[in-house]
Assembly symmetry: D3
């Protein structure tokens, strides 16, 4: 029997995507990214200096932090106070790694970009929404740094987007919502650049295992989803042509 | 010489106030409260059970948590991870104390209301905005509990609002923004109920001291500000008449 | 019905106050301050250097720490180990703020004064006893620094004392003990200088609310109490005339 | 130019693999697993009871902890004391997830298996060695539980092994050592079962990106490596035929 | 050359010892114990219940906590907040172990005695003063429990005292002060009961080593010191005859 | 009635002792030390620099860390994560103190030696095995530093070994195993150098007390045990003659 999507979407169809830019005013970039009912506030802040291991190298750095507000989920969850959960740490490491793939750090110089991804509302796919929305905030921040004369030229070397895909009843479905995420037997997250070059792939069988053929189907769906996200990002970023290297 | 307000307001004039209700969808109450450029997401979540010291008493409880997103301020600040700062703890204790003054906990029964005040953008007055907006979210949550049949009648015994006021060049000014907050010699926060009964008053001389006469002026201004906030809250809460005891 | 004070005091009467100076021998100032059965060991230590934000400014700093010994209360309470409670942090911030109001930090120079207030026995009013006794220890420490030739002249710009006052059965009472503190509907703490200029006022309605008129009564009582404390401090500090600026 | 392996291995060749069973005597299973110079002590302990979310379900649980001894690496590294690093948490979550895929928890009953993977010596591939060696320790522990009569039949539903593979100079190489791991542009870890069904795949481009074709090559190499590891495991586990469901 | 004691004492002479009982009023036992300039506030609190490992055994427990106030030492030292130092933990474990040797826990019943040793002023020998003074507080607390009718008879099975002794210039000296403690090459702490039975002996060569003959001399001195302390304790405890089993 | 040793040893007989050198390859010294079923991996790592209090002194330092693997004991125990237990801290402080007694830190120069003692399997006597085995690892590390030319001559000033001894049924027994350790009424640990000079002695009466005569017997047994360990160490260290000062 086939999986019927709760919102009637086609298997390869994304949820509605939007990027509300300048959502807050003090960070260099600030985007409220929405993929369906998943809403992530992505901001990019700029500071002088770099972590110790890069001091004197002339290179910059990008780091990411990820959190969910306690009321973002259907049941309120506690804030992580004394220590971060393994899940949170995995996600913020993934966001940082993914967005660093878009930057030439020699051009950025000894500055640190901090991406804060704060999930205001969670309906699955928060990490991929954080990456995709985080890239838009990153482009906005770079744009502002150039306008201010802080940077002479853009350090952006590529465009980065991410999507989730899963197996339900053995078939692939793109951009799972919470109900689907719980039901899926395989959970997959893929990060790609503007040429559909793979930056990161993470796939887990929640029950059973999956085949090489299914891996290929999941990658095919991911490519379809990411192509649409790349277009949506470029539409949102008004000065994209100038920022691209 | 007199203080000229950066935005040209009269000394007794509030910044524009608004309450965007149902800003997120999973919490029982969710309000994006804005006082000028200070934006606080106030949510109210409901859970069964109460803290240990109330178990078996038949009474409910209300607790509050307060945080600023790292990008809320002009310079990004670090998240509080291992321990909360004294400032954060003071503020969340104040929010909890203030909103508990609006509830009859016998009527609420053994449930806990958790108010989360997450500052998305900070231009001073975040604690008072959290209280004033938190009350609107609280009313929304109570309303939903009654509609769901969880509660038979409203446990709201009063209306709560809060405002800041300060002395600049020896004169009182209402609802300080960040520039004013830094310049003020006396910093005052007042919480009142619908009868202008005082729930909490906290005043600190940042330099020098202040007189009994100035204390009276600060209280006069506070009353003016809170009267306006009480009206704005009632306008925002559509079913206010039914919720009020 | 009127409140009968457990120890038969008049409403405006303080508990017996004493300052045992040089209670320990290594700190620059060391005072065992007693307000009735509340006993607080207040010490002032001096160290070279200042916190980072003041380095190179030529200005000094004063910071305070507050703790209760576990056996100070009627039921033993646990030590705060991993993190300080909100209450403890609020109190030590208040002590620091209050005593900083007595110092000219340009005259002190780049030194840090650390006030440790350790409650040996607690019968309410520990924070105000810590401030009032802490001022005596501060004066002793300044005196020693001048005698040692470390300071040429006194950086003391004022005298600081603090008192609690509360509403019981709607009437004001000065300097509550533990039984009264629990019964009070409004809890008030006031810090003033030698001119009865207000340094800090904090008032909380534990139940219900209070009026502007009651606020005035509470302030009247506070003034009466602080006047007596100022006299007691000056009697205790033998070289007060030389220390005062 | 092609990559020359430091130890002269063929691209698809594993390092020498061995499993020293009963390395310590108190844990139910204890294996010193070696892949070349990477040595991981894998133990499996059994305790009554399960985490809260499984209580009363009749189902068991398996959890994993991973640490490196401070002297395991070429430069001594500090122990993780206050909190675990993101890397450590990611790895121990991966080990747990992977080995849970081999167990029927209804047959295990309400018991918890704890896999401890302590790296005594690290030359890359510690997480995959922990999984592959952890499976052998798991089989030993199950065997002992059956011999003791604690379990009537084996809850093992499959065999699990893991391998690393990477791209160097654009070509795939199996089972990287430390020098290779540092030089690789793509780092891949794959977990499979006895049918080469995929349990987990994690691939990261350390610089640039990789293509769908390269993904396929990496998966081909992984299959080759895992087939050899599956054989080595079965040779080590003397009573494998009885344990397999 | 021989060591000249700073205060002119004979090698086998103790510093003046005193026990100020009922120093604070809420704990069951409260003693300000002084050995020269070392002042330790020792309190004993009683609570119902025992640690988990004793629940249902009918036996009681005694535990100890030890801290120095920050201003107790010649240079102010920081409070131990996130974690206790090894030194603090060693000392509080020693105090607990030593005083448990004086109690029959079957007679105490399922109660916990908590000994808090807070050093107000430190001139070496704080741990031995805490044990010797802690025993007096313990006797006071037992006495009060019997008077209250909580206990029918005394669970005290013995008397416990402790002393430090050290080698300076190769010769033994009793009850070192701070200057001597720093200069000593061997540092020894001994805990004994009323029959001079050894409860604990801890000796460390701070430089070089010491001989069996010196060990004997150190033990001889310890016996002399403890005999005097046992007398002083008995003189302080007015109802000692009734408490002794 | 006399105690019968579980393994039939004579009262003064050690368990079999062995030192497997170069057990791991990256630390300067690495020894798997075994005393019967107690197995401790002792490694010594060398780093430039010293703790703050020694900077610029020209002197080096030695520090020790001690842990048990969770599966080392008969029942798995949890790892110490947020804070170390008092027992762990006591032991690692003892190991450090003991091995520092073997080093001339002026000859070592401003380097830090870190001794890691990780217990792989625990059958009592882990701290003494860590010291005795740690000394062998230390000698190996010094030897390597001389061969590398880092050190011109050996900073080893002595040889250090440690043993446990206990009272069972009132009689002394050497080198207790776990069953004996639990049954012993007095638990004793002694550290000595090559001349049987005492470095540290720690004795605790677990129940009752012990006499001066028993103390002497325990010391006699300790000397016997340590003489054997000193011989075993010298046999294991092939270049001992060159390392000894």
């Amino acid at each position: 029997m086939n999986w019927q999507r709760p919102d009637g979407r086609q298997p390869y169809q994304l949820r509605p995507v939007s990027f509300e830019q300048n959502f807050t005013r003090y960070a260099a970039g600030s985007v409220l990214a929405k993929c369906g009912d998943t809403h992530v506030l992505c901001t990019v802040s700029v500071s002088q200096g770099v972590p110790r291991f890069l001091e004197g190298s002339g290179k910059g750095w990008l780091t990411a932090e990820y959190r969910m507000l306690p009321s973002a989920t259907q049941q309120r969850h506690d804030r992580e106070l004394i220590k971060l959960s393994g899940r949170t740490q995995e996600i913020q490491r993934l966001i940082g790694r993914s967005l660093r793939a878009a930057i030439d750090f020699d051009i950025l110089g000894e500055r640190t970009l901090t991406v804060d991804a704060d999930v205001l509302q969670a309906d699955a796919g928060t990490r991929t929404t954080a990456i995709t929305g985080g890239f838009v905030a990153l482009a906005n921040a770079i744009s502002k740094l150039i306008q201010q004369g802080t940077l002479e030229r853009s350090p952006l070397t590529g465009q980065i987007a991410a999507i989730s895909v899963g197996l339900l009843s053995g078939e692939p479905f793109l951009d799972l919502d919470y109900v689907e995420d719980v039901a899926a037997t395989v959970d997959f997250n893929v990060v790609m650049n503007q040429h559909l070059g793979i930056i990161e792939v993470q796939g887990t069988a929640e029950s059973g295992s999956f085949t090489r053929q299914q891996l290929n189907q999941l990658m095919d769906f991911s490519e379809k989803g990411i192509q649409q996200l790349l277009i949506a990002q470029r539409q949102a970023i008004s000065d994209w042509d100038k920022l691209q290297m």
